[in-house]
């Protein structure tokens, strides 16, 4: 039960990077605290799997140190690191029953049979596998097999961290819900450090206490799901989290007003004069911009999307595309609609980084 520290960890295949772009994983500094659930979220190729593999020991980083508690484990082989890993597709031993699969890690460590049996029963109960204990593992469904993979990791009491590498990829969509909830309840029950790699934001936001959003080998923001949603520090986070992502418009910002395509947008804080900076953008999520029957900025409606529980309109303000919400009460939407933007949830980004304004 320890925390994991990444001390200036970086990785470049081949070991001799000549420039930033050669790095698979750019220098990373972070402490993963015991008992927390973390998600590594990002698009393909962002380095999240590399980072996971460095923690598990399948990849030795070309730079930096990895510490489990105070111990330097950078070069320690996987089997000595007290971690468990669940892979993208279920990894089970075909020839064994479910019970034997779960008992395998304990048998290899030569624990006494009654201890093993008890632990297996405990974990099987937690994962709803008790009924299948004596069945051949091979014949089960994919989600049951993934639970077995997970169970094999949890069954060892010396495990200090469980690592998940996109574990729900092969699971039938109808069962993803169940398995997600199960993972979360397991986390709550066992107080282990869990690190979960995914490119699906729902999985990340549901599972994690803290999410590490990654892009291009770098951690762009680390924060609680709510923070990532309400206060993205980087335009990438605004874009990646939320479906659809944040709206961004180039603007000239001064004081508590922003000039977007000739229209004036109120901001929730006071900013210094950024009107001459070319890289300034104003970002606001579709959840905080809505079509309104009252006063607002006029926008051309391009398309209306009906998502069942909500409706969205793709509009243009001036010549900037925006996605806005349509309130339930509003029946129809014409060609032009007034939109109102919530100042409290409008952010200002300079060169993709959020700028904090002063409170009004």
């Amino acid at each position: 039960m320890t925390s994991i520290t990444l001390d200036r960890i970086a990785h470049a295949y081949g070991g001799k990077p000549r420039s930033e772009s050669d790095y698979q994983l750019k220098p990373f500094q972070h402490v993963w605290e015991q008992g927390f659930a973390y998600a590594l979220l990002g698009p393909s190729g962002c380095g999240k799997t590399t980072l996971l593999n460095i923690i598990s020991g399948l990849v030795i980083p070309s730079e930096g140190r990895l510490l489990f508690g105070d111990k330097d484990v950078t070069h320690l082989p996987t089997e000595q690191r007290n971690i468990a890993q669940v892979f993208q597709f279920p990894v089970i031993y075909d020839t064994m029953t479910v019970a034997e699969n779960l008992a395998f890690p304990l048998k290899n460590r030569r624990l006494a049979k009654p201890v093993i049996d008890r632990r297996v029963a405990e974990i099987a109960k937690m994962l709803d596998l008790s009924a299948d204990l004596n069945r051949r593992a091979r014949g089960l469904t994919a989600d049951a097999k993934q639970k077995i993979s997970l169970g094999r990791g949890l069954v060892r009491s010396d495990v200090s961290a469980v690592l998940f590498d996109e574990p729900l990829t092969v699971i039938d969509p109808a069962l993803k819900w169940e398995l997600r909830s199960k993972l979360k309840s397991v986390h709550r029950a066992l107080d282990l450090l869990m690190i979960y790699v995914t490119h699906d934001q729902t999985e990340a936001l549901t599972f994690a206490d803290k999410v590490v959003v990654m892009n291009d080998g770098r951690a762009v923001q680390i924060g609680a799901p709510a923070d990532l949603f309400y206060r993205p520090e980087h335009t990438f986070v605004g874009y990646f989290i939320g479906s659809p992502g944040m709206n961004f418009m180039p603007a000239a910002v001064k004081g508590d007003r922003a000039d977007v395509a000739g229209f004036e947008v109120r901001l929730g804080a006071i900013y210094r004069d950024l009107s001459s900076d070319q890289s300034v953008q104003v970002g606001v999520r579709p959840e905080f911009v809505s079509a309104t029957s009252g006063p607002g900025l006029p926008a051309q409606v391009r398309r209306v999307v009906d998502l069942g529980r909500k409706r969205l309109a793709h509009v243009t303000l001036g010549n900037h595309p925006l996605v806005v919400g349509i309130p339930r009460e509003m029946e129809g939407v014409g060609d032009v609609v007034n939109i109102s933007i919530d100042p409290a949830n409008t952010h200002v980004y300079v060169a993709d980084i959020r700028v904090q304004g002063t409170a009004p």
Partner: protein, 296 residues
């Protein structure tokens, strides 16, 4: 499955092959069947013999029956011995073969070399190799104090044929196993490491189960070939000493072409063929059962 387009003109392309197959396979087989139910006194006079040849053949008390029985037994023992050595050895060497880097290509070529040599040349190589005077193998064994004489000692002869087959064909098992091993995703090995499994446990619980299908093919191929072995014993020992290495095919050759005892030979070759066919069918059934059980 996709419905293939029906194009009757395609049959014309098949005609030449049909002709060749007819001439080289079907008509000779029909001839053999013909011989197996008839007796001849030479000079093209044939008498109907019904199933008498078969009855004699399968009756161990007749001379021909006893002879067939011995040869069959010898061949089965030989197949078993070869399988017992080649399959484990092949798997073991496949496990040692490099999986990454420049060494892979070279290793695979070196492994494959023995299979590329024409079979009678293999026989000739070993024939010289095993001579106690000028052959390295023979001289080495004699030098070690062993009673090794391919032409006179039955045990030496047997052992030599087995060694030749192992040398010649283990590469097939190696390559098949190697391909099977390469197909195992890395995640299994990683999971096993995390589970703290020993090398043996990894072998028994991951590698061997995943090699099942490949091994069925390897065993089938090896069994068939050892069951039909002809060239190597013919070249190296001629079937001797005595009848120590007279396997079914060699025996058949002696009866058919040596003694020109066509009826017996025909019956024997048909029985031989049916045994091989039955074994194939058994393996095929096993393979389809494995397929049906599905993969993980």
């Amino acid at each position: 499955m996709i419905d293939k387009p029906v194009n009757n003109r395609a049959w014309f392309f098949v005609l030449p092959v049909l002709g060749v197959v007819l001439f080289s396979s079907i008509i000779p087989v029909m001839t053999v069947v013909n011989y197996s139910v008839q007796d001849t006194m030479g000079a093209n006079s044939f008498f109907w013999n019904g199933d008498q040849w078969f009855r004699d053949l399968l009756n161990p008390t007749t001379t021909i029956g006893a002879r067939f029985n011995d040869a069959l037994f010898r061949t089965l023992a030989f197949s078993l011995a070869c399988l017992l050595i080649e399959v484990p050895l092949g798997i073991a060497l496949a496990l040692c073969a490099p999986r990454k880097g420049w060494a892979v290509g070279i290793s695979l070529v070196v492994i494959a070399l023995p299979m590329l040599i024409p079979w009678n040349v293999v026989g000739t190589i070993w024939q010289i190799f095993t001579r106690e005077d000028i052959g390295l193998f023979g001289a080495a064994l004699v030098g070690l104090g062993l009673h090794y004489n391919v032409t006179q000692e039955p045990i030496s002869a047997w052992m030599t044929i087995v060694v030749i087959d192992v040398w010649h064909w283990t590469p097939l098992v190696i390559l098949l196993s190697y391909a099977g091993l390469r197909a195992i995703p890395d995640a299994y090995y990683q999971a096993a490491r995390i589970d703290g499994a020993s090398r043996w446990a990894v072998f028994f619980n991951i590698e061997l189960p995943k090699l099942q299908k490949v091994l069925v093919i390897a065993v089938l191929l090896r069994f068939m070939q050892t069951f039909m072995i002809y060239t190597e014993p013919f070249v190296v020992t001629g079937g001797g000493p005595g009848s120590a290495t007279t396997f079914l095919s060699i025996d058949l050759d002696k009866i058919a072409l040596g003694q020109v005892d066509l009826g017996n030979a025909a019956a024997m070759s048909l029985v031989y063929y049916l045994i091989t066919l039955t074994v194939c069918w058994i393996f095929f059934t096993i393979m389809t059962q494995l397929e049906r059980r599905g993969d993980v």
